[in-house]
């Protein structure tokens, strides 16, 4: 197997492992489908925006939960945003954490919220790490003159 084929194999295996572990869902594969020669950076762009959004929202939620009197409507609206974004990019675990997070907001449970926020933050960092690895593989394939395999 030549270098490009090996890299492509690695890419597909890594992608499939993320899917198997529930780190990403079908929606992530949908994003891949939208990427082509005319938009080779589409997925990386969207994912980068998503991570920026995560950081901003996580910071805002932390601040809101730190207040003497917590505005749970505010926190909930941030969680709603994050749930939407994570759903749109296929970040399944983040999305599911947001769903749980919202119930704590509704119950106005500060401890529950703080716990969820911690989990969301951990999951976001984990996902970021994984996807950066995926994109690195992608870049290596392109640098070696190959094309990104389409995931069925």
């Amino acid at each position: 197997m030549n270098a490009v084929a090996q890299l492509q194999r690695q890419f597909v295996d890594y992608f499939n492992s993320l899917y198997r572990e529930g780190v990403v869902d079908d929606q992530f594969a949908e994003l891949q489908k939208l990427q082509d020669e005319s938009t080779p950076d589409f997925v990386a762009e969207v994912v980068t925006l998503f991570f920026e959004d995560c950081e901003k929202l996580i910071n805002n939620m932390a601040k809101a939960l730190d207040q003497q009197v917590v505005d749970y409507k505010q926190v909930d609206s941030h969680v709603h945003q994050l749930k939407g974004s994570s759903s749109s990019v296929g970040a399944m675990r983040v999305k599911n954490l947001c769903i749980a997070f919202r119930t704590h907001c509704e119950a106005q449970n500060r401890d529950g919220c703080v716990r969820c926020l911690q989990q969301v933050n951990n999951e976001y960092l984990f996902l970021k790490n994984k996807l950066q690895t995926l994109f690195r593989l992608q870049q290596q394939i392109l640098a070696a003159g190959g094309s990104i395999p389409t995931i069925a």
């Binding site: 994003l31 938009t39 969207v46 925006l49 939407g84 974004s85 759903s87 749109s88």
Partner: protein
């Protein structure tokens, strides 16, 4: 008759990631796309922004074949935007599609009763948009 122009879609969503996604989905289905981040900007683009709803000068109204909007937006919801569009003389014939991440039957019915062409569940997929494109072409011919 139809001169082969690509349909022009105005996509409205307060979420940047969703805007990017819907734009790409529509472009990959051969549509021209303009995005707006809220209802107010959308109305301005459509020439419905100010108090004057007349189009005496005519030249400033942009030709839009479809409006697709998120439901949950701060200040003006997609439903409120839909109402304003249907109330306007110049824009009421333009089909409006509402998107939402939440499957709430009362919400869906409310929008359809107000004249929305259809309701779509987020996240949108390529197959959803391809179908929408077909329905849109049928509307135009």
């Amino acid at each position: 008759m139809d001169n082969g122009d690509l349909p022009h879609v105005l996509a409205v969503d307060d979420n940047l990631i969703d805007r990017k996604l819907v734009e790409r989905l529509l472009k990959s289905s051969s549509c021209k796309v303009t995005t707006a981040e809220n209802g107010l900007r959308a109305l301005e683009y459509l020439g419905l922004g100010g108090d004057e709803q007349n189009t005496m000068d005519g030249t400033t109204t942009s030709k839009v074949n479809l409006i697709i909007t998120d439901y949950c937006m701060p200040e003006m919801t997609g439903y409120e935007l839909l109402k304003k569009i249907k109330e306007s003389q110049i824009m009421k014939e333009v089909p409006v599609v509402i998107m939402s991440s939440e499957n709430v039957p009362t919400r869906i019915n409310q929008c359809l009763e107000e004249g929305a062409l259809m309701f779509m569940l987020k996240p949108l997929k390529q197959s959803d948009v391809k179908k929408l494109r077909c329905d849109l072409m049928k509307c135009r011919s």
